[in-house]
């Protein structure tokens, strides 16, 4: 078509008033005083996730049927989605904007499916080029494995030293099979081995290896040995108790006989839940003793609910103060408690009620009152004034140059996903350190898309899908039954389609359809603003269902 309409003579006219030229010569963009800018923003779920996984981004590829790309984006931040897809408390879901609309997306269940489907392709993340630098990683738990995965991906030679016979740490020796099947973990370890990571087993820091030797032999060291030392109750007769983490480790190694029929489990955290639910599945009749009430239990709500569904007896406001062994039985002296003023943690402090002591006989007693890291294996130089290991949260850098640390070892018992995050952040920091760059990388925080920026008119109310769980009476029969069967691929696709895709363009084309000036172009399957013609009316920004387009002042 012509650039400009020229009707000088009657014969130039078309028979009907139809355009014979474009209006492109009229660059209406000059009329604009505000301009729309298409830019992805942070989704609240991504922001809430300790690893900052790009959730809507990988959802969009998953919806498109591109598992490889979905898995690639997912593992940019989270090295083992098959694992967090099973055991994560899912901070993402509590931040989901969709909660204000109907229900949060079942993000964790989708992550699990995508993580599992991606496993066959994951080996493609093996490095393309080798970097001639070696990094030692101490501890093959969540933090160490995560750090190893990313460093190896970048091309470094990675050797992991592990004191146990197998890799996994808490993933293998702590989390029960019914929550995380070992075959998933084994597959992940296998991929790490195929990527070229070397595992050296039965090597314990402080005994078989020491930090300074590692530092000398390697270009960098990462310590992620977790927190496995059971806290002491400081009461008489506690030498008769079994440590919760030791018990779980024994079970993971094959022990199937419970330590007795009537077993007391002391504590209210996640380990206590794992211990007591494991005991039930072994045929014991466990009782939980907790010194405060359910409201103050540090265990995840979801875990508490499941333990209750299992039919476990919880006894609150009760504290063992003494124990003695009598004919292979343990006699506990328990004192009743009442709640007082809130303490530092904000939970109400338990106060013993004088004279309320009672004795009760148990076959065994297991404590799960919290773990600490063992700092005796590292030199004092690495410790802070409080006696804990000091490491920068952003990088894992310790007080010793070239030595990094993270996970439970640094911060005390926490979640798997946080350890994964420590591992990745440390790997990236080690990479920068080894390239001679600034270790700390300052990033401008991205703006999060709020619920108010979502255009609700474009979405239909639909509640979240949930996996059809195995009923409690069925699941408590065995330790080997994975209690959450997860989503099928179809279910996870259906659920992923509920996602608002906050701040992440999924190429819905609403802006393209609505622009009254055809000033949004569709190039390479995505929208692009044609500033030559955009008058800045703002309709695209108003209509974008997911807050990607914002109006900015013209410079």
């Amino acid at each position: 078509m012509e650039e400009k309409i020229k009707f000088d003579k009657l014969e130039d006219y078309p028979e009907i008033p139809i355009s014979t030229a474009t209006t492109k010569h009229n660059k209406t963009g000059s009329w604009r005083n505000l301009k729309p800018v298409i830019k992805d923003k942070a989704a609240p779920c991504s922001k809430a996730c300790p690893t900052n996984t790009l959730i809507p981004n990988y959802f969009n590829f998953f919806i498109d049927g591109n598992i490889k790309q979905a898995g690639k984006i997912l593992t940019l931040h989270n090295p083992f989605p098959s694992i967090t897809g099973r055991v994560c408390p899912a901070f993402c879901q509590t931040a989901c904007n969709r909660r204000k609309f109907d229900e949060r997306i079942s993000i964790r269940e989708i992550e699990r499916v995508v993580g599992d489907l991606y496993l066959p392709y994951k080996i493609e993340q093996r490095p393309q080029t080798e970097i001639d630098k070696r990094v030692a990683i101490v501890g093959a738990g969540p933090a160490g494995l995560s750090c190893a995965f990313y460093l190896r991906k970048f091309g470094y030679k990675v050797i992991i030293f592990e004191k146990e016979e197998k890799a996994g740490g808490i993933l293998r020796y702590g989390i029960p099979e019914y929550r995380l099947p070992k075959k998933i973990l084994d597959k992940e370890i296998e991929i790490l081995e195929e990527m070229g990571i070397n595992f050296e087993y039965k090597k314990e820091l402080g005994k078989d290896i020491d930090l300074y030797t590692l530092k000398k032999e390697f270009d960098a060291v990462f310590i992620g040995i977790g927190a496995h030392v059971e806290k002491k109750m400081m009461i008489e007769g506690e030498e008769n108790f079994i440590s919760g983490s030791e018990f779980l480790k024994d079970v993971s190694l094959g022990k199937r006989e419970p330590p007795g029929k009537k077993v007391a489990v002391i504590g209210g955290g996640n380990v206590a839940m794992d211990v007591i639910r494991t005991l039930l599945r072994m045929g014991a009749n466990p009782v939980l003793l907790y010194r405060r009430t359910e409201n103050e239990m540090p265990a995840l709500k979801e875990e508490i609910e499941k333990a209750k569904e299992d039919g476990i007896e919880f006894r609150f406001l009760i504290l063992p103060v003494k124990a003695r062994k009598e004919n292979d039985k343990i006699v506990l002296t328990n004192i009743k408690m009442k709640l007082g003023e809130p303490d530092k943690s904000g939970r109400r402090r338990p106060i013993p009620i004088e004279g309320s002591e009672e004795e009760e006989v148990f076959d065994a007693v297991i404590t799960a009152i919290g773990e600490e890291s063992d700092r005796s294996c590292v030199p004092k130089e690495i410790l802070g004034e409080d006696g804990w290991v000091y490491a920068d949260k952003r990088t894992g850098a310790t007080k010793i140059e070239g030595v990094f640390a993270g996970g439970d070892f640094v911060q005390g018992p926490s979640t798997v996903v946080e350890a994964f995050s420590w591992g990745r952040k440390s790997a990236e920091a080690i990479d920068r350190y080894l390239k001679g760059e600034e270790i700390v990388k300052v990033e401008v925080p991205e703006k999060t898309v709020s619920f108010m920026q979502i255009q609700m008119e474009y979405f239909e109310r639909k509640n979240a899908l949930r996996p059809k769980e195995i009923p409690p009476y069925e699941r408590i029969k065995s330790l080997e039954i994975e209690e959450n069967p997860g989503f099928t691929k179809e279910q996870s696709l259906e659920e992923a389609l509920r996602c608002f895709s906050c701040g992440v363009c999924n190429f819905c084309g609403i802006c393209y359809s609505y622009c009254p000036d055809a000033a949004i172009l569709w190039k390479e399957n995505k929208p692009e603003i044609d500033y030559d013609y955009c008058k800045g009316c703002g309709i695209c920004a108003k209509e974008c269902p997911r807050g990607i387009i914002t109006m900015e002042k013209e410079e």
């Binding site: 309409i5 009707f7 009657l10 006219y13 028979e15 009907i16 008033p17 139809i18 355009s19």
Partner: protein, 400 residues
């Protein structure tokens, strides 16, 4: 006998092979006409007395007998909008309406003509409200005379059917829309024997519509965008040229139609008008009544004739002068332009203005469906012969 008058003008509607006769209503004659024209889009909103037109068409589409898309809409305004859009993409479009429905289309009537869409629409004359009426008069269609639509006023159901087929042929040549006008009940609901032409012959006469400006996804264009004073007027001029051209096209296609189907339809229909001293001018179905009265008068030796205006837009000035100059002319109007008089009367007078001296009077009659009888015609002729003043607006048959 006036010289130079083609034989056709006194031959309107005669002949035909008289095969495949059906006794059908005027409304159904429209439906058959549309079906035989192989319309591709039908969109209409029901209104008495038009409803049966689209009822039958919807059945034809429903049964698969007519391969067209039937688009349901919520108003006549939308119905015409659908037709315009369809026509712009190159589809043959049909609609039909009456009275208030036509008035509701008014804005888009201009658009259809401006966009040069050859839509054919059945208009069943119904008197305008208020007061409400469902009976016939011509004010609804005549109110739309300046919209750029051609208007054909029919006398019989056969003419209705034939005019639809002819209508598409003419409209698509001149790129103007066309109304096929028939009177409420007098034709719309009255059954007459009608020859349903053979589809093959119709196809031969009326090939598929080829819109040289058809909008397609690969040829996106803007239609009717804002046009500055520098450019607007020429587009209006082109519509007038198309109307001028339509006079020739109507005559040409009328002859071609006659070759195929045996019947001729021209600009005007002469009934003893050539040699008459008094010519009664009329339009529409009541012309039959006029013809009946005139035939009787002729038998009584009175030199009277009838000139039925078939094509009102484009207005056949030349034909009218040929037949009426120097005669005594009675114009019957089943309509009124308040404050000015009968609409046909004004148009006829303007055609004769400044030419040979002609005596001309206008009578307004039959509004809102009031019967027009042979004795009314006789009475009007007597009145005319006695009359001294001719410029009055004369209401015939008014209660006193």
């Amino acid at each position: 006998m006036c010289k130079g008058v083609p034989k056709g003008d006194n031959n309107n509607g005669k002949g035909g092979i008289m095969q495949n006769m059906k006794v059908i209503m005027g409304n159904h004659a429209l439906s058959y006409g549309a079906k035989l024209s192989r319309v591709e889009i039908i969109s209409a909103y029901p209104i008495t007395p038009q409803t049966q037109v689209v009822e039958l068409l919807s059945e034809m589409v429903g049964s698969g007998e007519l391969k067209a898309k039937f688009v349901n809409v919520e108003s006549e305004h939308s119905a015409l909008a659908v037709c315009i859009s369809a026509s712009l993409t190159g589809a043959r479009a049909f609609t039909a309406t009456s009275a208030q429905g036509l008035a509701l289309m008014h804005e888009l009537l201009h658009y259809a003509a401006g966009a040069r869409t050859p839509i054919v629409m059945g208009v069943i004359n119904r008197a305008m409200a208020t007061p409400w009426s469902i009976w016939t008069d011509q004010n609804d269609s005549l109110s739309q005379r300046d919209t750029g639509w051609m208007q054909i006023y029919c006398e019989s159901n056969q003419e209705v059917l034939d005019s639809v087929i002819l209508g598409y042929k003419i409209s698509e040549r001149v790129m103007l829309p066309q109304m096929i006008v028939l009177e409420a009940f007098v034709l719309s609901h009255t059954s007459e024997p009608v020859e349903i032409p053979d589809q093959k012959i119709v196809d031969d006469f009326l090939p598929p519509y080829q819109n040289p400006y058809a909008l397609t996804p690969s040829n996106p264009r803007a239609i009717g965008a804002v046009t500055s004073p520098d450019f607007y007027m020429e587009f209006r001029y082109k519509i007038q040229k198309a109307m001028d051209n339509a006079i020739e096209v109507i005559l040409e296609e009328g002859k071609k139609f006659q070759e195929k189907f045996g019947r001729y339809w021209g600009l005007v229909d002469s009934f003893y008008a050539e040699d008459a001293e008094i010519v009664i001018v009329c339009a529409g179905a009541y012309s039959s009544t006029v013809k009946y009265a005139v035939k009787k008068a002729r038998e009584e030796g009175k030199n009277i004739g009838v000139l039925r205006i078939r094509v009102f837009r484009p207005f056949p000035y030349e034909k009218i002068r040929e037949y009426l100059l120097g005669k005594n002319v009675i114009v019957l109007d089943r309509n009124i332009s308040f404050g000015a008089g009968g609409i046909f009367y004004q148009e006829i007078k303007s055609a004769l203005f400044g030419k040979k001296k002609t005596k001309c009077a206008g009578y307004i009659l039959g509004l809102g469906g009031r019967d027009i009888t042979p004795s009314d015609i006789d009475g009007i002729v007597s009145d005319f012969l006695k009359r001294k003043k001719f410029d009055d607006i004369i209401f015939w048959g008014l209660k006193k």
